[in-house]
Symmetry: C2
Subunit: 445 residues, 2 copies
């Protein structure tokens, strides 16, 4: 059998930043910006308050910033907390092929480490791109069987990505990079059963922390198997019922998974996105107002009703699982950011009145990123919209302007506007920063 | 479906120390003593040096002792290191039904925590017994299918035990105990692929650390699934192909897994133990000397040759996988402790000469804890020995005297004799100690 782990490790060790196409580097920067917005935006969530309260008495030296807040923790605990914050809104990036959220485990690890062991912005970006490559390729090799069993792939594959990225920053040689992947893999964990609880966001955080530990141990000579991915008792056999190692090694350095990363324009399950997109388009094109609407009819992929069919959500979190609420918020507010999923908005009488006028029908031949909308107005007019590919899909990616709007919405909720703006500009300039850790320090609340 | 997780959590929360039979409490004390000897004995191993070097710069306040050494780490990192040290010789306890090494994850967690949040010796022992119960029952529910897939069950089940034990020490209520088990379970990890590398001992250490984090987070209200064990996407379905939840809930508080714990008299794979046992018996009964021996013939379980058939081991570690070396050492030194697996002993010319006279034949109808030995002397005499159940098996458990000899051998190798003896006596008195953390402080090197 091919030495998959060794081949992957060797590629990471040998990778040169200059050899990465500019477009891929720019994708990396966009991912980092999106991650930073999510991490800062999520930093005041109750989940983070609780984790900080629980772990603070045990944290090490003040080496790394908790983004969006004032605490400083040791590198490992900071990565754990920042990784949780970046995923707590479920608003972070998505590698659509595997539904891995790639940045959480990788960026949280390297940004925390960069404050302790300084690297340039280019080195940070390089480590990020490699980490994403490693986690997504390992994810590709076992998806969907691995996910179907019940593994939360962001945690299980993410830990490899974090270890590879930190290993690159530390300059590990091939043997030590192999060990880092091994120590990471043997910590691979996280059940989908945890979705809907605070543990979901714990997974990318833990992956970041465990990946760092793996690379640090390997750096000092801590040994592991040389074949963690491909061995009969290693990751791909133990944690999946099928696997394709070719997905890991084929076209390394030619096809880049970072370039396939996507960003959510809306702070909810991705299956509702085409419906929200359509509502916002109709609202903006026709000046549709809630009061004028008699009914809204959706034809959608069956998954929409299965996953987000909540008719009468009571809380913001439940609103994220309601296509009805989401469409009402989209018409009334023209957006479906984190704010539109607050308890207050979900309980707003105007929203509820419109929500009750939304009807959705599942149709097998409609794709996940597709929706048909019909809005019937009180005056009898009928408005139609076919969303072929929702905004945020690979076919209609969010442009930089949309990414900035999302970042601003998230970051300005936590940081003063000037600070949030400065942070955003620093992220855009990541590749040219002398000290990559500057982005962490600039994100302190 | 029964609420397995809730039932188990409720039982742990409601358990009273007084209701635990004295014999079970004594089994707990014996397990703790054996664990302490292993942890102190293993504390100077290279694996531990490396882990300390890697993690020290990130460790928190000096809250808990590294047993056998002078460093103090935060509770979580101390538990990680002590858990590794206790397993690094592969000399710790064995729950034979599941081959879980129960004390590593549980004792390492609670002893570190006891230095930070003081509890009495009885409370510590209570937490230990409950933690072992939880991990072994969860192990019972999925063994052997779970192990056969490739999971290192000491890590995967151990994290539940550590969380339950710490949860008991922290006085968690039922809901929080359920969450603690959930947060623990979603960290369950560790591949058998790592056997033979430093990662093997990392597993119980990580289980201890992760179990502590789980209980601390739950204490502050960090939520998880209420059904981590039994849910379709929870532990027993995701990480095993078959399961029996009855093993978890049946006879709770009536049958105690702690009472089924066993201890290794010899510092090597358990399949060689009957052969070593027989050699030592023949040596002591007949005053057999290496020089008088023409040949040694063994008839053993086929696993012996499969796992420990190394004819010419070159290092101490290889010696552990050589039934030939082990028998030679047993005849010459009358023991097979950690010392008999040093590089020097393995390379000793007298040992090698005798090792080459050992012949082993596999026989299907011989049990794993059984062996037939025939020693032919140069003068023509033939000595036979049938070991029906090796010393250390449930049928012939190590008595207290043997446990003490093992402890002394391990602890005196690291601590001054007086200190090692005082530590041993403190462990025996655990149940009556005012402050359970005293055993950790007494173990400082």
């Amino acid at each position: 059998m091919t030495e998959v782990t060794r081949e992957l490790a060797r590629w990471v060790v040998g990778s040169k930043f200059d050899a990465i196409p500019a477009s891929v580097r720019q994708s990396g920067v966009r991912s980092m910006l999106n991650w930073m917005g999510c991490a800062v935006g999520g930093s005041r969530h109750e989940t983070i308050d609780i984790a900080i309260r629980a772990l603070k008495p045990f944290s090490g030296p003040a080496q790394a910033s908790i983004l969006g807040r004032s605490e400083k923790f040791d590198v490992l605990n900071a990565a754990l907390i920042n990784g949780m914050a970046s995923h707590v809104f479920d608003f972070d990036d998505t590698h659509l092929k595997t539904i891995i959220h790639p940045a959480g485990p990788v960026a949280s690890a390297i940004v925390a480490m960069a404050e302790h062991r300084p690297v340039s912005g280019a080195e940070l970006l390089h480590a990020f791109i490699l980490g994403v490559e490693v986690e997504c390729r390992i994810g590709n090799s076992v998806y969907p069987a691995h996910y179907d069993i019940g593994w939360h792939i962001t945690g299980t594959a993410g830990v490899f990505g974090a270890a590879a990225a930190i290993g690159k920053m530390l300059g590990l040689d091939e043997q030590r990079m192999i060990w880092a992947l091994g120590i990471a893999g043997t910590q691979s964990s996280g059940f989908r059963e945890m979705f809907g609880t605070m543990c979901k966001s714990f997974h990318p955080g833990a992956a970041a922390r465990n990946g760092i530990a793996a690379a640090l141990l390997a750096e000092q000579g801590f040994t592991s198997s040389n074949r963690v991915i491909e061995a009969p008792r290693g990751f791909a056999h133990v944690m999946s019922v099928s696997r394709n190692f070719d997905e890991i090694t084929r076209d390394l350095g030619k096809v880049w998974e970072t370039a396939l990363n996507s960003y959510k324009p809306f702070a909810c399950g991705i299956v509702i996105h085409p419906s929200i997109d359509g509502c916002i388009q109709l609202r903006n094109e026709h000046g549709v107002k809630a009061e004028d609407i008699a009914r809204i009819d959706l034809r959608v992929d069956p998954l929409v009703l299965e996953l987000t069919g909540k008719r009468t959500p009571q809380t913001g979190l439940e609103g994220k699982f309601s296509v009805y609420h989401s469409c009402a918020a989209a018409i009334i507010h023209g957006a479906a950011g984190e704010k539109e999923y607050s308890d207050a908005v979900v309980r707003d009488a105007r929203i509820i009145a419109l929500r009750d006028k939304v009807n959705a029908v599942a149709q097998d031949d409609i794709a996940e990123d597709e929706a048909y909308l019909t809005v019937t107005l009180n005056d009898g007019r009928v408005l139609n919209k076919h969303v072929e590919h929702a905004i945020g899909s690979l076919e209609r990616p969010m442009d930089d302007k949309a990414l900035v709007a999302k970042f601003d919405d998230l970051a300005r909720d936590v940081l003063p506007v000037a600070k949030a703006d400065a942070l955003r500009e620093l992220c855009w300039k990541l590749e040219s920063l002398k000290d990559g850790g500057d982005i962490a320090r600039a994100a302190v609340g």
